[in-house]
Symmetry: C2
Amino acid sequence: MPVNYATPTPAQLFPVAGVRLGVAEAGIRKANRRDLTLIELAPGSRVAGVFTKNRFCAAPVLVCREHLKTASIRALVINTGIANAGTGEPGLAAAHASCAAVAQLLDIAADQVLPFSTGVILEPLPVDRLVAGLPAARAALKADGWHEAAHAIMTTDTVAKAASRKVGADGTAPAGSAANRATAVTITGMAKGAGMIRPNMATMLGFVATDAAVAQPLLEQLVKEAADESFNCITVDGDTSTNDSFILIATGQGGARFDSASAPGWAEFKAAVIAVARELAQAIVRDGEGATKYIEIAVEGGRTREECKAVGYAIGHSPLVKTAFFASDPNLGRILAAIGYAWNNDPALADLDVDKVKVWLGDTLVAENGGRAASYREEAGAAAMKPAEIRIRVDLGRGTCTANVWTCDFSYDYVKINADYRS
Amino acid sequence: MPVNYATPTPAQLFPVAGVRLGVAEAGIRKANRRDLTLIELAPGSRVAGVFTKNRFCAAPVLVCREHLKTASIRALVINTGIANAGTGEPGLAAAHASCAAVAQLLDIAADQVLPFSTGVILEPLPVDRLVAGLPAARAALKADGWHEAAHAIMTTDTVAKAASRKVGADGTAPAGSAANRATAVTITGMAKGAGMIRPNMATMLGFVATDAAVAQPLLEQLVKEAADESFNCITVDGDTSTNDSFILIATGQGGARFDSASAPGWAEFKAAVIAVARELAQAIVRDGEGATKYIEIAVEGGRTREECKAVGYAIGHSPLVKTAFFASDPNLGRILAAIGYAWNNDPALADLDVDKVKVWLGDTLVAENGGRAASYREEAGAAAMKPAEIRIRVDLGRGTCTANVWTCDFSYDYVKINADYRS
């Protein structure tokens, strides 16, 4: 069960003009489950994406990169069950065949289609079954299909992840207020992922769409920034997936138009896109495999954002820290140990002066001057470990940069889920 | 229970002339357990060590580094229960006080004593109890005390780890043969560790002693090489400890003398020291917290040894790979994913051509040409996952360098042990 997260209701997910979604049962890996999603975009939509940096990246990731270079994207096709990664040339052919089939169905060109897959790595994609399921997905296309689609892209997820909001396009009226309705911008997104989560440039399938018109260079900059502030700050198990993809779609079907970063309302719009991306990213951590606790690691006082993230990830990946949180045991020396070896992630930390490091758990000062804080009491630590949401704050005491990493604890169920997955 | 490892019997651990060991119950953290070990070295013994690179290194590690610079070491004092790490100035004072107490008891100088601690981080060392236990440890000193000492330094270890062998000093006679007995060299060592294991330069307390005389520069070079070929190739959970220490002692009380690397018998002696260190390091992995499988990851075809190790560690740290081994499920795409993101550990791998990578499980070729090997059958993979000892072989196809990493699987019991430890 996720930590303090519930899927928004269908009514809470605003349709985005120019986007229609349809799902179907294609029997990709298992029967009787919706595992195929088709997304149709209005002509003129602009699309930008960031993808995994895993060298064994999936065939659909390669095809997405290629198609985003050359074409105006009109459709996305997503299957779960099989990741189509580690599948070599046949995998690439299967991804291309999926695009061709969608193109034929929608009367567009194959390079106007972006393919996505998620599931088991190293097994062949049954592309015939995928193609056979497409007509049903097309028949199901509808503007309010986000809720169903968010469910259809799940694998080990226990809940569907989606987020939606409206903001005033000119930044002057409260989000979604009646006064601003005419120029309001809608932003709706969905994501999937629960394990093999340590995105590098993007995450395991995140899709955010807006009805604003956004100039292509601006959109490409925004998708990177949004990923860096959201999906690129989370980890469940430190395993960077082969299929991570985060896609930002701007259909231009609403009234708002952003041609440059100085356009009125851009700052508010950008903040809203990042907020939606962050909500989705955090939902993935809240639904991390076996998670019982949601943990924010806020690192400050670094010389660079990178070294702050290196410390955040060292703590967030440590199985010892994560099992201590599972047990609600304030065995906080494990956090210090992780800070101490974080230079493995960023050599700039090799000269970290530990006497200047401070660590808080919630509001409780735990460590300073190279050791346990004089004011620290075990009971305060024990109390701070209890809540389902916990904030670890680290001050490195050597600069002004900050970074956040979001993660979850490590429980029996993580082992169970990953020992059982596939079987 | 450890994977295919049993503690040698007392008779299998040869005493090393010039080394006496004694243990006692000091009640450091828990009552009624032997938690204090004293090791006395004959005058003229030479000692070299390597220590953790964790920035939050323990107070005893700082003191060891200092004492090794200036003094001829005559004693080692080891406590379990409390790591004396993350303890700031008071921790340093406690480590110094331990040395002073040992010095008084043995009529030597305080800087001739090396202190070691292992256990919980961030809690103060009850140095009074340690000092009070010293006379009993001293009274128990004996040449054949290795077996008892190996037990007394345990924390979450389920078995004591020790190794011993004799080699012909001139390399001409079989190890320990009667003909060679007069010039034989004895090498005996012990180690502890089961969790927080990802040594960087050394491991969580490893001690190896020999009765050979070894020139100090040679000894210092050998301790580094032995660590690099043993403790620095293992991982249980990726957590580099604050207390890792690996100590090599040469008492010079036997007949053999090595003044330079060209001395007769040096190569065989060196190989034997490395073999003892490796046996101890592998014993730690076999006794890895919750381990049910022992996994060797042999990486070849790299441009550098470092990039081979980066790939080995990416695989060896992946919770997804480790849980798949626990389940004996040949979900081998997870190995490919880990190879694909290994460039996180070594940027030189960012241009890895995955089409040239080959992966074997035991003798079964699993992946080549960027995907699953045509010859691979699921049944062969399933069979290869079953044994308690498994070898993963990876050919990066871009060079001639190699490296091995030894690790274990990830089970419910790892979570249980680390959620319960301390309580």
